[in-house]
């Protein structure tokens, strides 16, 4: 049990206030009844089997933040870091700022934020390893770093930036509500350390003494509808109509007079259009390769397996048996590389098998499972068709039957895997991704890259043999055009959607048009040129392989740039950062100038 200090002050103790039966979202505050089998069990904190005597042990607790009182002293951050023994680059709680008005009547609003132990914990549902548990005790959403394998998906789905991915340790960790302190009746370390009476803690929907508001939102706070967070606010002091972030995100918050809430808008600051090709590299580079290669492999396999059935006679295995077999084996090799890259992207690659632990809720688990099934079936099909000679000891009918069964299974599993892959990115906390365009882009790339992966080897081989490949290449050019068209239509609707909805998605698009403007235009021009080229090749049946290679270079470069932009542009609905801490602009500066080499700066020099 937590050792209570003899001089513990009265404000550090949890109050026992009356509360309503349900919270504002209609969920009971009393999480379990007295006769529930979960009642009276130990939390076994640090191996201790004791059970706390807190009378409100099975009630949903939450933080209370009075923005009027916060002076941004960061005592809550320091207390949290000390209590949890955190390294300098990790903070479970952080204080960010919003500024408004102009001198001399400028205003600053400070926000201290940690995990809100939500009613609908999206981190728990998203985690593929089931490292998260929503406890009946205090309603705490706790995470076990020992189970986590460091994929970081919880950091994507959380709108409050609560889970912290420690690149050094290779796992995520987060606020644990100081449940050891709660067990003995003390408030969490951060709330106990608050100097200004801004941060408090207690049973949710109860108001601390001398407070007058119990709001679910303040300016800069993402919509509570995503996760139903257990935090309540007071912000009674009048603020300017427009508040700006002090970090590098191009976002401002504008008051909506009808609802009296602040909504995020794009803060256009007239920044120039640039290439920033170096900044297209990110921690997600392995995912750029993994997603594109997987789409290529699925598309190429579908063409190799279904080509003959679709009327492309040259793709029949018997037409060019050596090339057909070679391509299948090469596809297997490429998918192996893609899977290796995606595994090495994890903080703990050797725990990769835990990705299957949450098939019920996590899109990551479903994607990994579907890709694994496709990979195994592709392996089976390759083994029993391309290397059927190794199975001469089996009856010929068996070899062919098993091969066909694996092939048809892979025909279903491949597109299903790409569908689940797209679901990973449908995250309300990342509005730039949360659009059906992700699916059209993934299926579009499947058609485009898959058709290219088949067209080039077949085309060059037939060219080398002096034969005509027009009848084969024309339909493949049609697939390329269809893929580019599908992706292009999705992108047009995506931009219209971002402009209509505003907020973080539109801010990401603003970065797309400015910081990465030339790269974005080049990608779009590449797509249009690729579409025109593919349509021409499809209509004319032209089989000049240098033209085909040029088309491939343009299409692949566009796909690479598009996917890299997809990952680097996204702006999450996180809380505002500070001037230095939680400021992406400062982090980049620290890495460029070498400041990040000083551990006390709190920025890791390398994010890979």
């Amino acid at each position: 049990m937590f050792q209570i200090r003899p001089e513990e002050r009265p404000y550090a103790w949890l109050p026992d206030a009356a509360h309503p039966e349900t919270n504002r979202y209609g969920k009971p505050i009393e999480l379990i009844g007295a006769d529930d089998p979960l009642a009276g069990k130990s939390l076994r904190i640090n191996g201790n089997h004791g059970v706390g005597d807190n009378p409100n042990r099975y009630k949903q607790h939450g933080f209370y933040f009075n923005a009027d009182n916060c002076i941004a002293c960061h005592a809550c951050e320091a207390a949290c870091s000390e209590k949890n023994d955190l390294p300098a680059h990790i903070a479970f709680r952080s204080v960010g700022y919003l500024e408004g008005g102009s001198y001399p009547s400028s205003t600053r609003m400070n926000i201290s934020m940690a995990c809100n132990h939500c009613d609908n914990p999206v981190c728990l549902k998203g985690c593929p390893t089931r490292a998260y548990t929503k406890f009946a005790e205090y309603g705490a959403a706790l995470q076990d770093p020992d189970i986590c394998f460091g994929c970081g998906y919880c950091t994507w789905v959380c709108p409050y930036n609560a889970p912290q991915l420690d690149m050094k340790a290779g796992h995520v960790s987060k606020c644990n509500m100081c449940v050891d302190r709660l067990e003995v009746g003390l408030k969490p370390a951060c709330a106990s350390a608050c100097l200004a009476g801004a941060l408090d803690f207690g049973v949710i929907e109860t108001m601390p003494d001398n407070r007058e508001m119990l709001d679910a939102q303040i300016p800069g706070f993402p919509t509570p509808e995503i996760t139903h967070p257990n935090i309540r606010f007071q912000q009674a002091k009048s603020l300017p109509r427009e508040m700006r972030r002090t970090d590098s995100m191009p976002l401002r918050y504008e008051r909506d007079d009808a609802t009296k809430t602040y909504r995020p808008k794009v803060a256009e600051d007239g920044r120039p259009r640039a290439w920033n090709l170096k900044k297209l590299r990110s921690r997600e580079d392995p995912l750029v390769v993994f997603t594109l290669v997987s789409q290529l492999v699925v598309g190429a396999f579908l063409l190799l397996f279904l080509g003959e059935k679709l009327g492309i006679a040259a793709l029949a295995p018997a037409a060019h048996p050596v090339l057909h077999a070679t391509l299948l084996i090469a596809l297997l090799g490429f998918e192996t590389i893609a899977l290796v890259l995606s595994t090495l992207h994890l903080g703990r690659p050797h725990r990769f098998y835990r990705a299957f632990n949450n098939l019920r809720y996590s899109p990551v688990s479903r994607e990994v499972a579907a890709i694994a099934v496709f990979y195994n079936l592709l392996g089976g099909y390759t083994l029993f068709t391309a290397l059927s000679g190794a199975f001469a000891w089996l009856p010929a009918g068996w070899v062919q039957g098993i091969g066909q069964a694996c092939g048809w299974g892979a025909v279903v599993a491949g597109p299903a895997a790409l569908y689940f892959m797209s679901r990973i990115y449908r995250i309300p906390a990342r509005p730039f991704w949360d659009h059906w365009q992700v699916l059209t882009s993934f299926y579009g790339n499947m058609l485009t890259l898959g058709a290219l992966a088949v067209a080039l080897p077949y085309g060059w081989m037939l060219w080398a043999q002096g034969g005509s490949s027009g009848t084969l290449l024309a339909p493949l050019a049609g697939f390329i055009a269809l893929g580019l068209l599908l992706e292009g239509v999705g992108l047009v609707f995506h931009v219209r959607h971002l402009q209509k909805t505003g907020g973080e998605g539109a801010a990401a698009h603003y970065l797309q048009r400015t910081d990465f403007g030339y790269a974005w235009i080049a990608r779009n021009v590449g797509m249009i040129a690729g579409l025109a080229g593919a349509l021409t090749l499809a209509a004319t049946g032209f089989d000049g392989m240098f033209a085909w290679s040029a088309l491939a270079a343009v299409v692949v470069a566009s796909a690479l740039a598009g996917r890299a932009l997809f990952y680097v542009l996204v702006i999450p609905t996180t809380m505002p950062g500070a001037f230095f801490w939680r400021n992406k602009g400062f982090e980049e500066h620290a890495r460029t100038t070498g400041l990040a080499n000083l551990p006390q700066v709190g920025v890791l020099p390398c994010t890979h």
């Binding site: 070679t326 090799g333 192996t336 899977l339 392996g379 390759t382």
Partner: protein, 118 residues
Amino acid sequence: MTTGKRLPACPTELEQGIFIAAYGSPLQRRRRALAVVLLGVKHTLRGLLFSWPAYVLGMAAFYSGRVHALAYLLLLIPALAVSLAILARGVRDDYRNQVNGVLLGAGFVRGLLFPAAP
């Protein structure tokens, strides 16, 4: 001396002395060696379940001509290196957590192969 116990859990010098003596005994050494083998087999089998198609490349190299074989081996070797590195890391991690510095009881095999949720 209770099995499953670690040295820091022994409060007195006498208990620590007994622990060290028991930990170095031939029985415990044999159990630790067996544990390494079992962990290796467990992680290899689990890895194979997901990575066996990569080894088709090896078969392809065996059955095809020299140029193709080289290409397949070039694809296979990095995959093999990474899967071995992942395998070694998994075994090392489990050894550190479940075997090293622990007195292994008679039923340790079950605990190694089917560990309880942390």
